[in-house]
Symmetry: C2
């Protein structure tokens, strides 16, 4: 395995290498298809039997001896964001393959089938349907769900699939008994706390809102303070209050106002309208409900006090997803045995694992992301850290499949 | 005068009428030149002798009998903003002309010369040099000041003037003894307080700043609250604090954050950078200094507490300008005699009067602006209110020139 992981990541990253030193490998595009073919050829050489399913998920198996056939699954997604890095998604595929290859060398054929998935699509960067690959594989998405979904060039998702010979007609996987996804953290907690491994206990739920504050545009010179209905002022009170509440609540809650628009947005006009996004995440469903309920009440109270109107629209919701206690324990024990410093933590980002976890026992292994940077060519994880992640994964797969 | 003012405003507004029901009459443009010619012809018909000076200011005089020749001046600006209304600027010209015509009818020739100015340019909407006309007329601007100043089409201000035969070489006016500018309020104070006339005591000073807040962009899901350097959060604390200070200070202080930009401005990324404008106005120079000093200190303290960097750049400063006590008294006494409800008030907007007031005794008369709207085709003042303004102006000119 030594020195292989980085080499293999760079090799796979050649498919979709873009002009800005990153990877742009959108689902069902030419570079994506070439990556799938390249991966298939390599895995066949390594002794896997490889299938491509009806949505383009690649499934590479090492058949187990036991009857009935049970599958222990690992892997991650093959698609990338626009101008992404070489670790996000790729690491779970390459790392999973190397872990299985290592187990075969050390222990020979497994009892349960070891299977590697390269999910067709997770990011939702080409079509607005994130995690389509894993959802389809486990019966959580159907062809009719993507009716009318098109990319920015107007190409329909179904046409893009048909072009490559995929029907999208898929029977859900029935025989998978466990799934472990290896991934970069995409945050800086492991780096800051000097840990090599994050054992993910849950993936956060999210509630996203669009908040529109309506005041009255007025001349900045001729309108006394007392006659104003200043949308910027009201918004600044709301945002400072929301983020103070989030600070007070602390981990695992996070709240972000990432997008802010003002109208008319002219320096000498009192703003009449402010629109901002609010992204709230928590690992506990009722805590998430409670805090968003409180935030909405505070926004309403501030609007009233500031004499402005406010509209709060929910536009995305996902529930928190706990990982499998059994696999979490198994991963932590592996780290302890190997004396690898680890941290039990949640994932603040979305992953294929959150789709799969409610159906079969699932867990995730994180490795540090330098400065927490992700979705960028600057994404970086040190090779030793990558190898440690693979080592912990291999140990867990061994326990589950042998 | 009856029914004339609105008719004449509409007549003058034909020069530069735009496709969106407003006036677009930028200095030295064709419609601006046509308006100047039209105005000149009308005023000559009404018995004025009309000169156009070397920057394009129109000066229409009714010669006084006294020696040496002393001038009592009224008027306002001929240029408009893009898609402006028919009252801003125009009203001071048409109203001034009608006031003088009325005085001539009632009282015959004046002792001092009565002069009407249609200033070439006040708004700075074509070239970034506001109040060029009045500044030039009183020796406060010189041809070399506009070296390198061009409009958005790359036409230099000097070339635009030369095209019309203006040299910009101008001797400052020496014999003006008083100036009164009639103008719409461009705010809603008179309307809200049910007053017909505003007697302007001073024009506010302004300090404008650009505030740049530098934090760190981070993933909205994977970055715990405690690890963030959130530029949006820091900015919201700064803005809510600034505007609270302004509320507490109250009239005549106003503070406005009218423009706000966030980077990267993506809903699921903690903002790394926020840039906002701050516009602070007050009628008293030391109060203006004190409050901006306090605001800057508070911004610095919040930046420190929020662990972000901040840069505050001053990009525009003007001092408050008091109007002439003598003319203020004269205007207030006129209102009282005529039982016209008036309000002593300051101007929160800039006017030619602030250029002229430090040199010769100057005052302004405001009439109400419906809903405070200005610089828009929706600008509106009721005709009776327009007539009252002219009446008060005529009374003051009578006292000063007869």
């Amino acid at each position: 395995m030594e020195n292989q992981v980085l080499e293999r990541l760079k090799w796979l990253a050649e498919y979709g290498k873009d002009s800005q030193s990153g990877i742009t490998r959108l689902v069902y595009s030419d570079p994506w298809l070439q990556a799938q073919h390249g991966l298939k050829n390599w895995l066949i050489q390594e002794g896997f039997s490889v299938d491509i399913d009806a949505v383009g998920n690649l499934l590479a198996s090492i058949k187990g001896a036991s009857q009935p056939d049970e599958v222990v699954l690992t892997g991650s997604h093959l698609d990338s964001v626009v101008n992404g890095g070489i670790y996000d998604g790729q690491y779970g595929i390459i790392g999973g393959a190397l872990a299985i290859i290592d187990l075969l060398k050390k222990y020979g054929p497994p009892k349960k089938t070891l299977q590697l998935a390269a999910f067709a699509e997770e990011e939702g960067s080409r079509f607005p349907y994130a995690m389509w690959g894993s959802r389809s594989m486990f019966g959580l998405a159907k062809p009719e769900d993507i009716d009318g979904i098109v990319d920015t060039d107007g190409i329909s998702m179904m046409d893009a699939m048909r072009e490559l010979g995929y029907s999208a007609e898929l029977s859900p996987k029935q025989n998978v008994t466990a799934f472990i996804e290896l991934h970069i953290e995409q945050g800086s907690v492991l780096e800051k706390e000097n840990k090599d491994i994050g054992v993910v206990s849950s993936i956060v739920g999210q509630q996203r809102f669009l908040v529109t504050v309506l005041g009255e545009p007025n001349h900045a010179g001729t309108t006394p303070m007392g006659y104003r209905r200043d949308a910027m002022k009201a918004a600044s009170f709301m945002i400072s209050r929301i983020l103070t509440l989030a600070d007070e609540a602390g981990d695992p809650l996070v709240a972000t106002v990432g997008n802010f628009q003002l109208e008319p947005n002219i320096s000498n006009v009192v703003p009449g309208k402010a629109i901002f996004t609010l992204d709230v995440r928590h690992t506990n469903e009722s805590d998430l409900e409670n805090i968003t309920h409180l935030i909405k009440a505070e926004i309403g109270a501030i609007a009233k006090k500031q004499n402005v109107d406010v509209k709060i629209e929910a536009w995305f919701t996902s529930k928190p997803v706990p990982m499998s206690e059994k696999i979490i324990t198994l991963l932590q024990e592996s780290c302890e045995r190997k004396k690898i410093p680890f941290k039990p933590m949640h994932s603040g980002a979305a992953h294929d694992s959150q789709v799969i976890a409610p159906i079969i026992p699932t867990a995730m292994i994180f490795v540090p992301s330098q400065s927490g940077i992700s979705h960028s060519p600057l994404e970086y994880t040190d090779e030793q850290a990558l190898e440690k992640g693979i080592e912990v994964l291999a140990e867990a797969l061994h326990q589950l499949a042998y």
